[in-house]
């Protein structure tokens, strides 16, 4: 497999505006989007250790408008910083699906590109972009803060040009991603987010959104139930008895 196979296919933007003023407005919004990026760092591996220096006084990501955020609802970028074990990957996917679009995934560290030094491990997911649409990889074991910031600048340029559309790919080719996820997690794998309904809602239903894997999901899907809050008040053990 050559290096060309690694980046995900970029889906063309389905929105075509004909109004020239609309295009100016879109461009302005894309400019704002590229200048304000909230990151959710999912610190899975050793690569996370390079983020504090990238954020604090030496390299200062905030001057690029990049801020850390703590909940997926608020974030724009999902930073996966290092190897993802099978167990972790489930959480990463759950987190990713809860983020509001447009959303971007950045794989930091060689381990997210191809498994890195965990290539032979039975518990590590090798290529992140098999399971999630990755916008950008920052390779290195681990990449220095300069590299992280250079990667961020690349992403910023892509957003400004309107080419950072990997999140659309997740909707357009959901069957592909779901298939890979099922291969790893078993066929009963399901997440609380109804991706197909969302794809319909955003007009992103492609030819490959539904297929054999989504059919399998539909067969095994259990309806979500609200969690009940159980406060079992056990009797306190008292010393004075």
């Amino acid at each position: 497999m050559g290096i060309r196979d690694i980046p995900v296919r970029q889906a063309p933007s389905p929105h075509k505006s004909t109004n020239p003023l609309g295009r100016v407005f879109d461009e302005f919004l894309r400019f704002c989007q590229s200048r304000s990026l909230f990151i959710l760092h999912y610190c899975t591996g050793c690569g996370a250790i390079e983020l504090p220096p990238a954020m604090t006084s030496r390299f200062d990501m905030e001057r690029l408008g990049i801020q850390p955020m703590v909940s997926p609802r608020q974030a724009d970028i999902l930073l996966v910083t290092g190897y993802v074990s099978v167990k972790t990957l489930k959480r990463v996917i759950l987190t990713y699906e809860q983020m509001p679009a447009p959303k971007y995934v950045i794989g930091i560290c060689s381990c997210t590109v191809n498994g890195g030094m965990y290539w032979q491990s039975y518990a590590t997911a090798k290529k992140l972009n098999d399971y999630l649409p990755v916008d950008l990889y920052i390779a290195g074991c681990m990449p220095r803060p300069e590299a992280v910031i250079a990667g961020m600048r690349d992403l910023r340029r892509n957003i400004e040009r309107g080419t950072a559309n990997a999140w659309r790919d997740y909707f357009l080719r959901y069957d592909h991603y779901l298939g890979n996820q099922q291969r790893l997690f078993g066929e009963t794998w399901q997440t609380p987010v109804d991706v197909i309904a969302e794809a319909k809602h955003y007009n992103l239903l492609g030819k490959e959104t539904q297929g054999e894997h989504t059919a399998r999901l539909a067969r095994h899907q259990k309806p979500l139930e609200a969690l009940t809050l159980n406060l079992e008040l056990r009797e306190q053990p008292t010393l004075l008895k």
């Binding site: 905030e62 001057r63 408008g65 679009a101």
Partner: protein
């Protein structure tokens, strides 16, 4: 006053408050960055953030109350801005007065509580219960301070309070006349703006920003706008009560920016208070100072 004139003021005052508030957000972030020896965000960062959040394609709403909550949070402050006199514009400050203003500044927290409640996220519920407890704590000295200044000026009308302070230069400022009340007000301000050590209800690493945990897209954008208004309201209110309001726009802006910069400039000195310690602190020191100040005023 002609009604078109009034209408213009009612529209202009919140609008200006928003832009000044964005400047304040930028100032605070810059101060924080400078204290940490960073460069800090670019000039238009608050604007980029707000526009980006509103331009999100996915807007996950948790229901009607969630949306109304955000509207209340912003609306309360928009109403408060029209009650705060600025140089050249009084809005409805003559008719409203301090008591209405104090009510209006409480609406946003309650709206937020409603909205967060519907999100049904346990982190959010913990956060908002802490935020309301904190409100209960800092509102006691705040109300005492408001009462004290109103009693000293023999009026609850902000326009008159400001006019009284401007009559005799700095010597007639609330800060000089009632320094104890001003100090208590400053402490309450720190809690009101949720700066350290009183920021346990946000606690990003523990309860994932508490009330904001389920807010994404335009909801978070709404809260960012609310923050602009909140800073502006706090700054202008303190300036009107203690620093003689604004004689002209230049002194006015200098004063309100200085006021909101104080909590941020000292924020990083403190570790965080737990909720019960926070209540204990506010009901002890600022309340004590405010009561003492009040005794001087009543004497």
């Amino acid at each position: 006053m002609h009604w078109t004139h009034l209408l213009l003021e009612l529209i202009l005052m919140p609008l200006m408050a928003f832009f000044i508030g964005m400047g304040m957000v930028l100032t605070l972030r810059k101060i924080g960055a400078k204290l940490q020896r960073r460069i800090g965000p670019p000039f238009f960062q608050p604007l980029y953030d707000i526009l980006k959040l509103h331009a999100k394609e996915t807007q996950s709403s948790h229901g009607l109350i969630h949306e109304i909550g955000i509207v209340m949070a912003i609306g309360g402050y928009v109403a408060a801005e029209t009650l705060l006199p600025v140089p050249g514009m009084n809005g409805i400050a003559q008719q409203g007065g301090l008591i209405t203003l104090a009510y209006m500044t409480m609406i946003p927290s309650l709206g937020l509580a409603l909205g967060v409640g519907q999100c049904a996220n346990p982190n959010g519920s913990i956060g908002i219960s802490r935020a309301l407890t904190a409100m209960l704590a800092y509102d006691v000295p705040f109300i005492l301070v408001v009462f004290g200044t109103a009693y000293a000026a023999q009026s609850t009308n902000l326009v008159e309070i400001i006019a009284a302070q401007q009559s005799d230069g700095i010597a007639s400022w609330g800060l000089v006349q009632n320094p104890l009340l001003a100090l208590a007000g400053l402490l309450a301000l720190q809690g009101m703006l949720g700066k350290q050590p009183f920021e346990i209800y946000v606690a990003p690493a523990e309860i994932a920003t508490g009330p904001m945990v389920e807010m994404g897209g335009k909801f978070l954008g709404g809260l960012f706008i609310m923050q602009c208004f909140q800073l502006y309201t706090a700054g202008v209110l303190y300036t009107s009560l203690f620093l003689g309001g604004g004689e002209n726009w230049l002194t006015f802006l200098v004063k309100i920016f200085a006021v909101v910069s104080i909590p941020m400039a000292i924020a990083y000195l403190f570790p965080r208070f737990r909720t019960e310690d926070l209540v204990r602190f506010f009901w002890k020191w600022p309340t004590f100072l405010a009561l003492l100040g009040l005794a001087f005023v009543l004497h």
